[in-house]
Amino acid sequence: MSTPIKTSAKFRIGGRHYQMRLWTNRVMLFGSGAMAFLAIVPLVWIVVFVAQEGGRFLSPEFFTELPTPVGIPGGGVLNAIVGTAIVVGIASMIAIPIGIIAAFYAADHPNTPLGVAVRFGTDVLSGVPSIVMGMFAYAIIVLPQKHFSALSGGIALAIIMTPIILRTTEEMLKLVPRNLREGSLALGASEWKTTVQVMLPAAINGVVTGIMLGIARVAGEAAPMIFTAFGNPNWNTDLEQPIATLPHMIYVYAISPYKDWHDKAWTTALVLMVLVLGLNVLARVFTAWQLKKMGWH
């Protein structure tokens, strides 16, 4: 027969030990809550600050007009908005297919020499500073061609973007239950059909997230643009010519000695921020809709 365990008074509810535990819990909870709050302060601060500084000069013309020379009021950054879209578009067209298809290989063949090399290589590549990518693109494209171009900018950004997409997609594919793949193969599907028709849809959320992370990252890159797209105060859509981009525009405006260009730098920053955030929200809505359609919660 078992006897009830005797507890001393200090362990009972309201006892000394109980009080200690209660307060330790309260202190820790408050501490971790405070740190969590601290973590989001920079985000809120930046958004509010940029919105305040940039919002003062925001006007419809800012989106529809070309830049004006120093001292002339008005003007916009239409060329840089279009330029960013073109350069990021080139980068996406290169990086998305390469990143996703390579990710399938790496996820399916994790232990082959090539699979290991891909994982190691992309890890190293994503740690390389973006300015180095710019110099690289400068050396292999701009120098031989003897002129800056939108194309070289796109390629520099593609090199930055590929590892981000590749690693995110690979991690997401690994999370797809293995028995889905087996289920498809057991029906007599080839590896390729299985990948495209079962694995990719099942991992679509993660794949889109990876693409968005990649785009958000490169859309804000100014350093490689200095060596490649170079910037252009005029309207240009020719891929072989220098082109304006939003981050590079912010850089040029911000380091200038003129007050009105400083103001424009803030406004351009606001435009860039809203564009990237907007794209992210769109992607979330798209994937949420996809997931709902598949019944994948």
Binding site: G183, L187, G188, A189
Partner: protein
């Protein structure tokens, strides 16, 4: 007979009686009509790397019959099952020796089209694995791979397959909703429908009901008796009552060290051998008509397993 062997412990008696009841529920237990051999496994050895997982497997799978593979965990039941449609190819560094004849064609020969084998030998998995697609798209996935694209043909296949899987009445009004929205038992029947949509000759089932509740399990077993008319079925199960209730033939497998070491004698030496891992190869200890295996096993090891003295 098992129950007549002198004094038996009470729990053993209960266990044996539960198999007797299961056999009473088996509608085909006394069916002596013989059929042709659909799959013949001959002297199959199977390796994971250097480790021999299956040893000298000989097994006849009869057409339009249900063959159950039973045995303790780790004895290679699933490995053997997956060898029958080359699913083991997905595991790196595996190797098979011997022959597996599917209608006289050796399917482990190197020049065989694996995709074609898997179409002829379908598989239902332990955990229901519907694709994250609609019920309709799940069923037509296989037929579409085979080039069936006409809407009316696909509609027909969907209805026929879902009816065969005893799921049609439950889902006919929501064919375009996600397969993942169904209950576990319905998902498993959807997976069966998906498998029979490509009209395979053999269906392999890897513990198809182990993740399901008793009612869903019962439905799957009932369904198997229907499918038996058209398909040859091989099922791996840990549930011995299920084997007794639903199968025509049973193969008892075990990992065996050597014939010299019996499972009663010299436990210490046996454990030392087992722990060294050098001889844990799965073998078929006994194969026969289910009723015979459960009521009148010829091998002592089978008897020990069935009466619960081992495993």
């Amino acid at each position: 007979m098992l129950t007549e062997q002198g004094t038996v412990p009470n729990n053993t008696l209960q266990r044996v009686r539960s198999f007797q009841r299961a056999l009473d529920d088996n509608v085909h237990a006394n069916d002596t009509h013989t059929t042709g051999i659909k799959i013949q496994v001959k002297q199959l050895n199977f390796y994971y790397g250097a480790h021999r997982a299956l040893e000298a497997i000989n097994l006849d799978v009869y057409a339009n019959r249900i063959t159950a593979l039973i045995g303790p965990s780790g004895c290679g039941k699933s490995t053997l099952l997956r060898a029958l449609n080359r699913m083991n190819d997905l595991v790196p560094k595996t190797r098979a020796e011997g022959e597996i004849l599917l209608d006289d064609e050796n399917i482990i020969a190197p020049n065989v089209d694996v995709v074609e084998i898997r179409r002829r030998v379908g598989m239902v998995f332990q955990r229901p694995n519907p694709f994250p697609k609609s019920i309709y798209d799940n069923v037509v996935y296989g037929p579409r791979l085979l080039g069936v694209n006409k809407r009316s043909d696909l509609d027909q296949i969907v209805e026929k397959s879902l009816r065969s899987a005893a799921l049609w009445d439950e889902v006919k009004n929501k064919l375009h909703e996600s397969g993942l929205a169904l209950s576990g038992g319905q998902q498993q029947r959807l997976c069966i429908a998906r498998t029979i949509a490509v009209e395979p000759e053999v269906i392999l089932m890897d513990e198809p009901a182990s993740a399901l509740d008793p009612i869903s399990t019962y439905k799957i077993e009932e369904l198997m008796q229907e499918l038996r008319k058209e398909f040859t079925i091989v099922i791996v199960t840990h549930n011995m009552q299920q084997a007794a209730r639903a199968s025509d033939y049973t193969a008892f497998m075990s990992w065996q060290i050597s014939a010299a070491l019996s499972f009663d004698a010299n436990k210490a030496a046996q454990n030392a051998e087992l722990n060294s891992g050098k001889a844990r190869a799965g073998r078929i200890i006994e194969f026969g008509v289910t009723k015979e295996i459960f009521t009148n096993p010829k091998e002592k090891e089978t008897e020990d397993y069935i009466t619960g003295r081992f495993g």
